[in-house]
């Protein structure tokens, strides 16, 4: 009898385990966009990310290092870009995301010009996916970074570019 119970428990467990592996937001919510001709689709595989160390990137050292740090943690990047109907697409996209699954890191609306949403899916301190939705007057961009993302590295990278932008601003002023 014990064996019978064991067999049944095993089968029940096997049947109830959700078969869904880690699925990124684009595969889950936006697959219809991927097939859509109006969208430009780019996928960067984990293999390509591994090549980063071997190639020189045409950037300042700080920026290159910051990018390399971020890239180390990435397991995939999916990008969708559309150039028509952008605001409608942005609205649709931000509604489609299940807010129980994705946490809004921040949302920015620039007075009818451009809206940017940053969404994360995390387990504890590690971010499994970082999703950026940009709805501007000219572009609709959907980017999904998957991996084991360290938000501190992302912020350091943002900072490296920010300093650079400021430098450039100063240059212009001079």
């Amino acid at each position: 009898m014990r064996i019978l119970l064991f067999v049944f428990t095993a089968i029940l467990l096997a049947a109830s385990t959700p078969a869904q592996a880690q699925v990124d937001a684009i595969s889950k919510y936006f697959s219809k966009y991927v097939d859509d001709e109006r969208f430009t689709v780019v996928y960067i595989s984990p293999k390509a990310f591994q090549m980063f160390d071997k190639l020189d990137i045409d950037l300042d050292d700080d920026e290159a290092n910051a990018i390399k740090e971020v890239v180390k943690d990435l397991r995939g990047l999916r990008i969708l870009v559309a150039e028509e109907n952008t605001m409608a697409l942005y609205k649709e996209a931000s509604q489609m995301i299940n807010k129980n699954e994705y946490e809004v890191l921040m949302t920015v609306r620039n007075k009818g010009e451009e809206s940017v949403d940053f969404l994360i899916k995390d387990t504890g301190d590690i971010i499994d996916e970082l999703l950026m939705i940009v709805g501007g007057p000219e572009d609709f961009v959907l980017m999904s970074f998957v991996g084991q993302i360290d938000i501190n590295k992302i912020s350091q990278m943002a900072k490296a570019f920010e300093d650079d932008e400021e430098d450039e601003d100063e240059d212009k002023e001079d």
Binding site: I3, L4, V7, I11, Q20, V23, S27, K28, S31, V34, V41, V42, Y43, I44, S45, A48, F49, M51, F52, L55, I57, L59, I67, V70, V71, L74, G76, L77, R78, I79, L105, M106, T107, V108, N110, V116, F118, L130, M132, V134, V141, M143, F145, I151, N152, I154, S155, M157, A158, K159, A160, F161, E162, E165
Partner: protein, 164 residues
Amino acid sequence: MTNQNIQQLLDKYFEGETSLEEEAALKNYFQGQHIDPAFQAFQPLFRYLDAERQTALSPSFDEKVLSRIQSERQMRVRRIILPLARVAAVIAIILGVFALFPKNPQPAQAVAAIDWEQYEPETDEEAIAEATAALKLLASKLNGSSKTATSELGKIEKSAAVFK
């Protein structure tokens, strides 16, 4: 003992009327060397009975019995496992059938069927350039938004803390 005596005893014996002493006498006679050829035919009967009486348990008797019991126990285990195995086999077959013929409308599965490989840039250099551009865009959007966040509203504290 005379042959006549023997004949009488034998007759009685086969009638089942011999006493114990008379049977012992008969046995004694057939145990002996000098048996009349007329009674030779009965010799094995009495010798056999006697030989049977002498058989004892062989020294390995206990072992043999115990090993029999042991094997019987294994048989019983087998008798329990076998039907269970049948049940398991049936379940496995049913599951197998379900796995082979999944329900036809499966929108959830279609989602996972995107072939991302075809959207990969052809060379690693291109892939890296694309990824770098994407990260740059991400960084600039983060910066732009953290600026607006701090300058306009000081929005979510979390993001402000992270991206300062």
